[in-house]
Symmetry: D2
Subunit: 304 residues, 4 copies
C-alpha cells in the first residue's frame, strides 16, 4: 500500500492551489446555498486504516450516490429479477435522457441514471412495507452508523421542483414500467437522494464494495458476484455522461452526486470519498475529479 | 359546386363495402368500448347547404380536434404572442415526441401535437378566470349550439391514465414553458379533449375556417390572417405523423382525433366531418381517411 | 386577378429598403462568389401574362429547385412506383438528416430533401440511357426554352466538396436503396442541381404545376393527380426545415434552392419566382421569403 | 494463479455442449463462408505461460480488434493530440451510429467505433509514409511474429461493400475531421481490419496491455499511463453496444471483431483470446462471450 497520508495531503494542497472552475448546482433550491469552499477527502483501506483531510467529517447531500445503495438493496431483495426492467449499458448521451427512454420503450439504460433509479425505487416501494424507514435502516446497518438520516428540507425542495423526474416517472408509467403510484415512488426517490452523509460515512458504507459484499463488521449484504456487477456498473455508468472520461482519467469504479460528492474504490484495496460542491458542466465535482485523477496517478493504483 | 349528395352516398357505399382494417383506440379506457361500426359523414358548404349520410348526428369524443379550437381561442386572446412559446413546424417523427421536446429545449414543434396543445392550454388557464366554462362557451358561440358539452367520464378516464401527457407537461415545466400548475393545466386539457360533438356540430364550428374567421351567424372570431395560418397548420401538422400523407392523398387542411373523427375543409368552399372509430397505426380513422381521399377525387376539389 | 404589376413593384421596393440579413451560401465554392445584391422577381399567371422586376432575366444556379423537376420526370416515367422507395412526410428536423435516414432504415422522408432526391436521381439513372442529356431535354421541353443548360463549373465544384451527399448516397447504398453506382448517381445529381435558369425560365417551367400538368404549349407532362401530389409535397416539404413557417406565413406550395431562388405557385392562378442570394440560417433566401409573404398578403391570394 | 489448463478445458467443454445460437456475419462477403464450428481459446499469463484448446493456432480476420492496435500506434506517434479529434465516451446506441456523429458535429464518441477508428486511420495516413507497410511492421514488432499479414481478399471484399464506412468517412470529411482523401483513408482502414491472426498471435500482441506497455521482449511501445487509458477504453467501449453487458458479466477490458474473435485481459495477470465465428445480434461472438464469462467466474479473476 502506498503512503496515503502523504498522497492525500499533497493532492489536497495541489487542488486547493488551483481556482475552482465548478459551479454549485442550483436546480434544487435547497442545495444552491452550499458554501463552494467546502472540501474534504476520506480514504478507508481494506485493513480499515483511515486517512483524511479537510471537511471529511461534515455531512452533505449525497444525492445520486444513493442510487448505488438502493440498487444494492433491490439486488439483495429480488436478485437478478432487477434486470427484467432495466438494462446495464452506459447512456452516453449528454442531452436527451428521456429520448432514450422513449426510443427504448421505457426500459432505462441502467440503474444509475435517474429513470433507472426511479425503477429501482419502484421495486423497493413494492417490496418494502415502509420503504423510507427500511432503506434508511439498510444504510445504517451497512455503515454501522445509526446517525445517518434524510434531510427533509432537501427532499421537499426537490419534490417541489424536480419536474424532469416527474416527467421520467410518468413516462415509465406510460410504458408500464412503474408498478406503484408515481407520486408515491417519487416521494421515496426524493428522500433517498436527500440522505445526508460525510465522506467518512460514505467510506464506511462503500467498504462493502471493496470487501466482496461484507460490511466493516463482516456481515454479508451482497454476494461476490453481485458486488462485481455493481462495481462494473459504477465504472461504466457512474458519472452521467462522463463515465468514459472518468474511467479513462481515473480508472476506478465510482459514483458522483450533484451535492458535490464522489465515492470511488479499488476492489480489495481501498475506497475513497471526496466532497467539493463546485460542479463541471456534466454535473460532477471538478475538484473531486481532479483529486481522484491525481490520487490514482500518484499511488499508481487503478483497475487498469 | 359538385353534387355533394351523390358523392357522399357513393363514397359512403364504397367505403362501407370494404372491411375496416382499423382498430378502436384503447389507451383511454372510456373510448375503448365504442362501436367500431359507427360511421357518419357531414358536409357543410359556404352557402350553408348541408349534406350527410350515416351517423352524422351522433356525438363522439372529438379529442385532438379540440386543439384547433383552443388554438383559435388563444390567438383570439393574445394574438401572435402565442408563437413566443411554440413553433409552427411539422413534428414528422413517429416515435419520439418527448425526444423532440428535449432536443428543442421545451419549445413544442407546433400547437397540434400534445405538447404544443398543453402549452396552449396553459395560455388559456392563464388568460381565463374559469377556463373550462369559458372555453365551452367559446365553442358554443362559434357553433351556435348550446347543447355542446364535455364528457366527464372521458375526461376522468384520461386523467387517470394519460401518463404521457403528465410526462410532457412536467417536461415543459422543467423548461419553464408551463406557467401554471401541471395538474391544473392537464385538468383543463383533458376536459377540452373530452368535448362531445357530432359531425354536424363539427361542421357548424369549423365553418369559421372556410368563412375567413366569421362563424355561421357572420360574427367575427378570427382575422382573415389568423384563419389562413390555422388552416396552414392543419395542413402541415393536423394528422400526427401522417400529415404529409394526408396532404398528398387528400389535399385539404384538417384535423383528426383518436375518437375516430376527422374534420377537413376547403377554404371558401366547404367543410366536412367524418366519424369512424377504427384507427390506423398512426392514430387516424382509416375510413375517415378513405372517405376524404375519395371525396376530393370525385369532386375534383382540393387546395392543390 | 389583382394588379400584379403594382404589387410586384411595391414589394420589390419595400424589401429593397430593408437591409438584407442573409448570407450567401459558401459550402459550394463556386456559388460563394455570387453578388448578394442580385434581386429579381418574375410572375406568370394562368393566362400567360408576365410581370417582372429587377434581375428577373439573369440566370442563377437553381440547385434544390431541380428536385421538383427530377421528381416530375420520375413520376412521368414510373408513376406511383416512386413511393416504394420514398416517403412523403416532412422531415422537420433541422440538424440530423442522416440520423433520420438511419432510424428509418434507408427510406428518405420525402423526395425534396437531399437523400430523397438522390433516390430519385438513382431512378432516373436506371430508367434513362443518357440521364444528363435526357433530363435536360425534359426541362427544355416543359419550359419551351432550349437555351437552358447545366453549369459544369458548379457541378464540378459540388462534386469536389459535397461530402454530406456522398455520405447520404453511401448510406442509402448500405440499405440497398440505391441501385446504381454511388459515383454515377451523384454525378447526375450534381449536374441536375447545377441547372442555370432565370426567374423567367423558372416560371415558364413551373407553369405545369398551375396548369394541371400541361406546359405552356398545352402539352401533357403529368396527370392532374400527379400535379396535386407534387404541389402537396412542395407545401409540406419544399423549404427544408422551414416548410411549416413558409406555409404559415406565405401559404403557397413552393421550392427553394441554396442559390437563392424560390419558386412558388397558386394552382390555376399564377406561379412566381424570386432570386436573391442572401440566405437565412435555414438555407432559404431571406428576401425571397419576405417577397412572397408580402405578395400573398397584398394580393390576398393563398391556398388557405 | 489458478489452474488455467483445467479451467480452459472445462469451459471449452461446457460451451461446446451448448448449441451455438450465433450467426456468421454476412455483410462482408469474404467472411460469410467461415466454418461456424471453428472454436479456439488461447491464454497467456504475465509470466509467459501459455494455455490453449481447440483451433487456437488458426488464423482468422481480426477485424475491429485491429482498432486497439491502430489506436496504440497513433498514441505512440502523436500522444494526447489524438483526443483533439475524438472523445472517450461509450457510444451506447444500438442503432444510429451516424446520428451520433451528426449530433456531435463530427467528433466520434470513441476510437473503437467505426467512425472513431476511421479518424485514427486518418491520423496514421497523415503520420506515416507507407501506412499499410508501417502499421503491419508495428504489429509484427509488438507480437514478435513476422508471419502476421493482411488478407487482401477480405480487404477488397469490404472495400467493395462497406458502404456504411464510406458514409461515415464522408460525413467526417464534411465536418473537416478527416484530413486525407476519403478513399485513401478507407483503403488503409479496410486493410487494417483484414489482419489475419490466430488466438495465439493475438495474445502475443496484447501482452503489451497486461505488461504496462512493454511487449513480450520487454521493448517499450506505450507508457504506463497510455496502457491504462487504452484498457479503460476497451472496458467502456470495446464491445459495440454491449460494452456494459460485457463489463457486467465478464469484468475485463477487451475488444471483439465481427470475424468472431475476442481478446480480453486482466492487467498484470493474463490476456486471453477466443475465436468462434457465430455472432449474437450485437455483433459479438456468442461462444466467445460465454467462454469469458465462465473463465472469470471459475478463476475468480476480474478487475472488479
Amino acid at each position: 500500500m502506498p503512503d496515503f497520508n502523504t498522497i492525500l495531503n499533497t493532492v489536497f494542497q495541489e487542488v486547493t492551489n488551483q481556482p475552482d472552475t465548478g459551479k454549485v448546482a442550483t436546480y434544487i433550491p435547497e442545495l444552491a446555498c452550499i458554501d463552494i469552499e467546502k472540501f474534504g477527502i476520506h480514504l478507508l483501506d481494506i485493513d480499515k486504516n483511515e486517512y483524511n483531510v479537510g471537511d471529511s467529517q461534515e455531512r452533505f447531500s449525497i444525492q445520486s450516490i444513493s442510487k448505488v445503495l438502493t440498487l444494492s438493496m433491490a439486488m439483495n431483495l429480488i436478485g437478478e429479477k432487477v434486470w427484467d426492467r432495466l438494462d446495464v449499458e452506459p447512456s452516453g448521451d449528454p442531452f436527451n435522457h428521456l429520448s432514450l427512454l422513449e426510443q427504448e420503450n421505457g426500459i432505462p439504460r441502467n440503474p444509475l441514471i435517474n429513470a433507472g433509479a426511479i425503477v429501482i425505487a419502484d421495486i423497493l416501494v413494492s417490496e418494502l412495507k415502509n420503504p423510507k424507514r427500511e432503506f434508511l435502516e439498510f444504510v445504517r446497518q451497512i455503515s454501522g452508523d445509526t446517525s445517518i438520516a434524510y434531510d427533509e428540507h432537501v427532499a421537499n425542495s426537490e419534490k417541489a421542483t424536480g419536474f424532469k423526474n416527474y416527467a421520467a416517472a410518468n413516462l415509465l408509467k406510460s410504458y408500464d414500467n412503474l408498478k406503484n403510484d408515481v407520486l408515491e415512488v417519487l416521494d421515496f426517490y426524493f428522500y433517498q437522494c436527500s440522505l445526508s452523509m460525510s465522506c467518512s460515512q460514505l467510506c464506511d458504507t462503500f467498504y462493502l464494495f471493496i470487501n466482496r459484499g461484507k460490511c466493516k463488521r463482516q456481515q454479508d449484504f451482497l454476494t461476490v458476484n453481485q458486488v462485481k456487477r455493481i462495481n462494473a456498473l459504477m465504472l461504466t455508468c457512474g458519472f452521467y455522461d462522463e463515465a468514459g472520461e472518468f474511467a479513462f482519467r481515473v480508472g476506478l469504479p465510482g459514483k458522483s452526486g450533484v451535492g458535490g460528492g464522489i465515492v470511488a474504490l479499488l476492489p480489495k484495496k481501498f475506497c475513497v470519498a471526496v466532497w467539493s460542491p463546485g460542479l463541471n458542466k456534466k454535473g460532477n465535482s471538478t475538484r473531486g475529479m481532479a483529486v481522484l485523477e491525481r490520487l490514482t496517478t500518484l499511488s499508481d493504483l487503478s483497475i487498469f
